[in-house]
């Protein structure tokens, strides 16, 4: 069956002219690592590199014009859906015929009624024209105007930054005083009232524009709650001590990229890409772990850990995206065990970890490569990371051959195959299969006390996600 969609339909679906203009900018095929179709399902889908760390996943039905996209836009359809349909209207042959991947099937499964209800039916429809988008691009400034505009923009940015720095510094003075107060009144009473106390100081830090630090404090009670009572105080000492070190790093140099990233809002994609210190790494990256957590501030934090399978020493990357919990479920994408080939840009750091995808393609199961062997010692690596970033919450590491065992209380431990090294695992539950096989390697996040196991690679059963 031949599938088609016309440009008139794309124009009709667009909520406004601005959406069409924005969609037009996404028509560059390099922004689309995946463009595929399945005629039997009347469906097209793709991945588009947006402003997040991971690409957005978009699909559309070419018959009933239903659509879905993982971006957080409140416009329906968003520019990504329009751009996907637009590309299909102009070049259906650029879309490869494929079996729908799991996320497409999953969405199709939940899409029950044919036709997409339009919540804006009663609103007057603004005029929009798909051809106008080309004219818009022609409006350019003269070189003098552009220089003037850029200079003004830079000045504004510098003023804003100075003001933000002053606000953050004031917030951090308050934080240090707060920690001092907790030590005076006793960590015992802090643990009893940690929810309220952390919430209050977190709110003060949000006001002080130290948003990343605020959310770390807001999550501290949750972190303490999951460990056994006798370990809570030690963890509280460690966490509060690390926050102090972080604030000291800021006072020493508020331009330090690592301290800024851990305290203030992360820079956006364009800012990172325009920074000359940004490191780019290409390679075959395997997804070794996923973690989706709904935070107390109402945001969902979606972390994907990638492992470069060819680099030596081993290189990890953390793709981190946040979106409002109210935006609904969107944990689609690369499943644990899947691999992609592409380029990642890392946020400037003494210990580069946080990154986003610049361009990539997903590898088929047949062309996947095996996980590399870890070459550094866990303790040496962890200490090295702490010497660079003393406030690190976790250290990603690939464990060598070993087994999962349990102690008499049923807690999980990892043991190397010589039975010389033992690591307690923080996972409350693990797939049963992991107890019954030898692990060739395993991906963990080490927090100084315990390891969280994310996935393991086995000879017999392949990759097992935890």
């Amino acid at each position: 069956m031949e599938m088609e969609i016309s440009l008139e339909i794309v124009q009709e679906l667009a909520p406004d002219q601005a959406s069409l203009n924005a969609a037009k900018k996404l028509l560059n095929p390099t922004k689309w690592p995946v463009r595929e179709k399945a005629a039997s399902l009347n469906s097209i889908w793709g991945q588009c590199q947006g402003s997040g760390a991971k690409p957005y996943y978009i699909m559309a039905d070419v018959v009933d014009h239903g659509y879905k996209c993982t971006c957080p836009s409140r416009k329906f359809p968003c520019k990504h859906v329009l751009a996907l349909m637009w590309q299909f209207a102009e070049g259906a042959n650029d879309f490869l015929d494929k079996e729908p991947p799991e996320w497409v099937n999953d969405w199709l499964g939940r899409k029950r009624k044919s036709g997409t209800p339009n919540p804006d039916d009663d609103k007057p429809i603004a005029k929009k024209n798909i051809n106008v988008t080309q004219e818009e691009e022609l409006k350019a400034l003269s070189p003098e105007e552009q220089t003037k505009k850029d200079a003004a923009k830079q000045k504004r940015a510098a003023q804003t930054k100075a003001k933000t720095n002053a606000t953050i510094s004031a917030g951090l003075v308050e934080l240090q005083q707060w920690v001092s107060d907790q030590l005076r009144s006793g960590i015992g009473s802090f643990i009893k009232e940690m929810n309220e106390r952390c919430r209050r100081i977190a709110a003060r830090l949000v006001d002080a524009k130290a948003t990343s630090l605020a959310s770390r404090l807001d999550e501290l009670p949750a972190k303490l709650m999951v460990v056994r009572a006798e370990l809570q105080a030690n963890l509280a000492f460690k966490e509060l001590g690390q926050l102090l070190l972080l604030s000291e790093a800021w006072f020493a140099d508020n331009n330090d990229a690592d301290a800024r990233l851990a305290i203030a809002t992360a820079e956006n994609r364009d800012q990172v890409l325009s920074n000359s210190n940004t490191i780019r790494h290409s390679g075959i990256w395997g997804n070794v772990g996923e973690k989706i957590v709904t935070r107390r501030d109402g945001l969902v934090s979606h972390a994907t850990w990638l492992l470069n399978t060819v680099d030596d020493p081993i290189r990890f990357a953390l793709l981190l995206d946040h979106y409002p919990a109210s935006a609904g479920r969107r944990e689609v994408g690369l499943s644990v065990g899947a691999q992609l080939e592409g380029v990642l840009a890392f946020y400037p750091s003494r210990y580069p970890l946080r990154a986003f995808l610049i361009e990539h393609k997903v590898l088929t199961t047949e062309s996947q490569v095996s996980w590399p062997k870890p070459s550094t010692d866990l303790w040496a690596g962890y200490q090295q990371q702490l010497s660079q970033l003393p406030w690190s919450e976790h250290y990603p590491y690939l464990l060598n051959t070993g087994r999962i065992l349990r102690d008499s209380k049923g807690h999980y431990w990892w043991q190397d195959n010589l039975a010389q090294q033992h690591l307690p695992l923080s996972n409350a539950n693990l797939p049963q299969l992991l107890l019954g096989c030898e692990l060739r390697s395993a991906f963990i996040l080490w927090d100084g006390d315990r390891a969280e196991l994310f996935s393991a690679h086995t000879e017999q059963w392949g990759t097992i996600a935890c």
Partner: protein
Amino acid sequence: MLTENTINEEQELIEQLQRRWMIGSDEPLSLDALPQSWRPIIETQAVERHSIMTLALASQHQCVLFQPEPPGDLIHHTPLPDLQQPLIPQRLRPLFRRIIKNVNKQAALKPGILLELLLRRGYIAHPADWLPSAADEELPDIYLPWCQWAATEIGTHNSHDSESLNADNWDDWYPAQRISQLKALRFKDSAMARILVETCAHKEPADKRLRVIQTLAINLCEDDVTYLQELLKDRSQKIVTLAAQYLARLGKGIRTKTDSKESNNAKELAQGYELKKTGIIKKRVQVSPLKLKSKKQQAIRSEQLENTLLSDFADTLGINVTQLAASWQFSENRPHDNQAFVANSVNTLAEDGIERLIENILNYIATDDAELHLLHMLTPRLSESRRSSLMGEIVKKHSINFSFRDYLSFSHTPLIELHWNTLKSTRPWKSLEKEIKKDLEENGYIDSHAIARELSALGMFLPQEAAAQTLNAIFDLGVLRADPITDHLKFNADLSPHH
């Protein structure tokens, strides 16, 4: 360079500091309370910052020096046994996971059914997607090593080597899996199973003991008589009754203290029935009920039908018990009496009696539009292969009124042969087709759980080709191609046999 002594001294001081912070203190922190090597760093700070700066150093110190040691010996687990069978194709694993997740929500669907389908096509499940749990019953035999691994390694028991249930490892199995294994063993080697029951049943409490002894219903034979006679002395009355019924099945009506009462019951019951002879060339008997006057009499009859030894009842009517099974007139009796009669037959009829009863019921449901539940009551007496062949016959009979879900409650074995042309002219398909059309007309999509359950059932027992044709037929009706209600059929249609 830090010596072990220095480390210990420093650790002692850090622990003192931690105790102080734990309780809280308004006193300024003295430099003497700090490890020697920290003092030069802290003394440069204002006094009011000593505490927090020391906390910062202590946090790093703990991160770097701490290396965990397990508390005592760790429990080692044996490797999950290799079942020497190909694993499910990788591309079908996501669909398998979706189906198995859904399986427990539907009473008629059990993991065993999905695993049986997989096995019939030559594969086993990936253990990361599924492993046996305590509640899983009637799994294909190939998974027995995994069942025992899960029960011994993941459960609380110690591990050992053997692969199937025996007297030594009796306690290491979950009760449901024990029953499932006993049933399987009873079909394969009834004497071995009885010896195991004899050796181990007495260790179980009454309710569990009853379930264990009920497995003897399968392939009940003369060799079981001695053990059944011993059970007449069991402390549980339910077990005594069961043993008496099984002995009756074997034609060994044991006279117990209640027998004279039972014999009277049989006479009283027989007075309410008449024996008719039909057929001109081939004479056949029919046992037909006489009309009763009151509800109380009806209630007494139902109770007697359930509890009287059927051999006594038949004797009083002047026929044998097998003839009684063949000549019972289901269409003339009240449904409640029919149920009581079949329930009694399950426990007391010998094999040939059961076969006559099946024929009788099949004729009844084919001509009287009755449902399958009477047949369903007989399942404890039927082997899986008998159930499967019976369902094969039923599916092909166009006149029988049943639902596809009924198939799964009878049998776990997918059909080897069923043509789409046969399926599409059956009553359940026609009624399903009608329901789908109606739902699509009303909603534009399938909203009915009943339809979803029927399609899931079809997906589990159809042969591959018929599953593919059924899928096409429902898509032609307008069901969305990606609707999850088609998952089971898609899985079936996609699961080509392993070569």
